[in-house]
Amino acid sequence: MKTEVTIAGVTFQNPVMTASGTFGSGMEYGEFVEIGRLGAVVTKGVAADPWPGNPTPRIAEVYGGMLNAIGLQNPGIAVFMERDLPFLAQYDTKIIVNVCGKTVEEYLEVVERLGDTRADLLEINVSCPNVKEGAIAFGQDADCLYDITSQIKQKARQPVIMKLSPNVTDITEMARAAEAAGADALSLINTLTGMKIDIARRSFALANRTGGLSGPAIKPVAVRMVYQCAQAVRIPIIGMGGIMSGEDAIEFLMAGATAVSVGAANFVDPCATIKVLDGMENWMRQNGVTDIHEIIGCVQS
C-alpha cells in the first residue's frame, strides 16, 4: 500500500500532519505520539520576536467544537531555532514551520532566518483571526495576499505554503492570488471567527471576545472550501478542519487535498494523529485502495 505524497518536490511518507498551534513544536506530544510515523509536524506559529499573546480565558468549548484566542503567543525565532527545530530534526518526519508576523518585514525576517535550517517547508500564517495587526489582514485581501506571497517567495529557500482564512467572501479568489504570486501549496482552512457568551456572567466567554472556531463543527465548511480551491488552482492543498478519524481524512483527500492536518482532535485524544493515520490506512485496505493517489480528488472525476 502506497501512502507517500509529494508537495512542492518534498516527499512525505504519508499525508497525515499536525495542524499548527495544536501540537506545540512536537515536544509536548513526544511522550504520546511516535512522531516519526507522521507525514509532517507543522509547528506552532513563530514570529521574529517573542509574542505574549492574548489575556485569558483563551479557550471556550462550544457544541461540536471550540473557540480559541491564544493570539499567537510564541517565544520568537531565536528560541525556536535553538530549542524546537533540533528536537524535531531527530525524527524521521518532515518539518513544516508556521510563520507569523505583524508586518511584511517581520515575516521576511523569519523566512530568511529559517533559510539554512532543517525546516522542509514554510507555512505562512496570513489567517489568524485573533491578532489585531498583520496575520489575517494579509489573508483577506487578494492584492495584499499576492504582494506578501511574492515577497516571501523571493526570500524563501524552502517551498512556501500559504495558509488561508475561511473568513472571506470567496476563498478561491485568495487561492488564485496566492498561486499567481508563486505559492507552492495552500493550507486550508484556518479557524472561523466565532463568539460565545457566558449567560451566567452576562459577558464574553473569551477575554478577546471573539475566537477561532475549530473542531468537527467546521468540517463541512472546510471540505467545501478544499473542494472549491482544488477546482480553482493547480498547486497542492493541505486540507484541515475538524478531522477526527481516518474517514474524515479520506473525505478531505477525496475533495482534492493532497495531505491533511489534524488539529482540535489532539485535545480529544493526545494520540489522535496516529489514530487518524491508522484509520486512513485501514480504510484503504478495506476498500482495496493500493495507492493514496487513487482517491485524491476522486470526487471530481
Binding site: G21, T22, E28, Y29, F32, Y63, G64, Q73
Partner: protein, 259 residues
C-alpha cells in the same frame, strides 16, 4: 519506552457530598505516580464535547491504584461525570502538572488554605505534608464537605460566607480570628482568595504556594490556552506567560502576577 496515552479507568464509587459537589473514587494506574496538587484530565463521552476537563486529585492510594476526585458540576462535562456509576469506564490522562512542593514545609509550620472547590486538593497534601500544620477551609454555607477527612490530618478550622458554621467570612478572616500563624502557606481556591493570600504572604514575608486554574484544551503544554502572567520570564514561554498545566498549576506567589 512505554508511551503515555489516554487511559481507561473504572469508577469504584460515586456519591453527592453536598448539592452539586460529587465524590468519585476511580481505579486507575495513574494513581501510582499521583502527587498532591496534581490534576487529571477527564474526557466526557458526549461527542458534542471535545475538550477534557481538568480536575484536581483529592486523594491517591498509590499502591492500590485508586484516585479520588471531588468536583463541582459546572457544565456539560462534569454533569455527565456526575451520572457515572460504579463499574463504568472513565477516560482520563495524567497525572499532570507540578503539584505542591512538600520539601518547602520541612521543619516549618504550614498553613493550608482552601476555598470552595479548591478544598479537595488540600486533602492529599495534608496527608503527605511533613511537620506541623493547620488547615482552613472556606465554604459558601453550612454545607461543609471533606471536613471529617481533613480533621484527621490536623487542626481544622472552617469559615462560611453566611456564618452558619465557624467564622463568618473567608479563610483569611478565619486565620485572623483564630490568630493562626505559619511559616509557609499552601492555597487553592478562587482568584480573589488567592490574591488575598498573596498579599498576606508578602506582608508576613513568607512563601505561599498557590494552585491556579484556567480554561485548558490540551493539558500537555502544547496549545498555550491556560497561561498565567508571571513576574519573570519562564524558560518555556520567554514572554512571562507560563503554562498552568505544565509549569503549574502550583506557583510560588511571588512568581505570578495575579494583581
Amino acid at each position: 519506552m512505554e508511551r503515555k496515552r489516554k487511559e481507561v479507568g473504572t469508577v469504584i464509587s460515586q456519591k453527592e457530598l453536598i448539592p452539586g459537589i460529587f465524590d468519585m473514587w476511580i481505579e486507575t494506574k495513574l494513581a501510582h505516580q499521583a502527587a498532591p496538587g496534581q490534576f487529571v484530565m477527564i474526557y466526557p463521552r458526549a461527542e458534542s464535547t471535545i475538550l477534557p476537563r481538568p480536575i484536581s486529585i483529592c486523594q491517591a492510594q498509590k499502591e492500590a491504584g485508586r484516585l479520588r476526585i471531588v468536583y463541582r458540576v459546572a457544565g456539560k462535562g462534569t454533569k455527565e461525570f456526575s451520572g457515572y456509576e460504579a463499574g463504568e469506564d472513565i477516560a482520563l490522562m495524567g497525572p499532570l502538572g507540578n503539584g505542591f512542593p512538600l520539601l518547602a514545609a520541612e521543619g516549618k509550620r504550614a498553613v493550608l488554605l482552601g476555598g470552595g472547590i479548591g478544598i479537595p486538593p488540600l486533602l492529599q497534601l495534608a496527608g503527605e505534608l511533613p511537620g506541623e500544620k493547620v488547615i482552613l477551609a472556606g465554604y459558601r454555607d453550612g454545607h461543609l464537605f471533606l471536613q471529617e477527612d481533613l480533621e484527621k490530618c490536623g487542626p481544622f478550622y472552617a469559615a462560611t460566607e453566611d456564618g452558619s458554621v465557624g467564622v463568618r467570612g473567608n479563610v483569611m478572616d478565619a486565620l485572623t480570628v483564630h490568630r493562626l500563624e505559619g511559616d509557609v502557606i499552601y492555597a487553592c481556591g478562587p482568584m480573589p482568595m488567592l490574591r488575598a493570600v498573596k498579599q498576606y504572604a508578602v506582608q508576613k514575608g513568607i512563601p505561599a504556594y498557590l494552585s491556579l486554574e484556567e480554561r485548558m484544551a490540551c493539558g500537555v503544554g502544547a496549545c498555550l490556552g491556560c497561561v498565567c502572567k508571571t513576574t519573570r520570564k519562564d524558560a518555556h514561554s520567554h514572554v512571562k506567560n507560563a503554562r498552568i498545566c505544565t509549569e503549574g498549576p502550583v506557583f510560588e506567589a511571588s512568581e505570578v502576577d495575579i494583581g
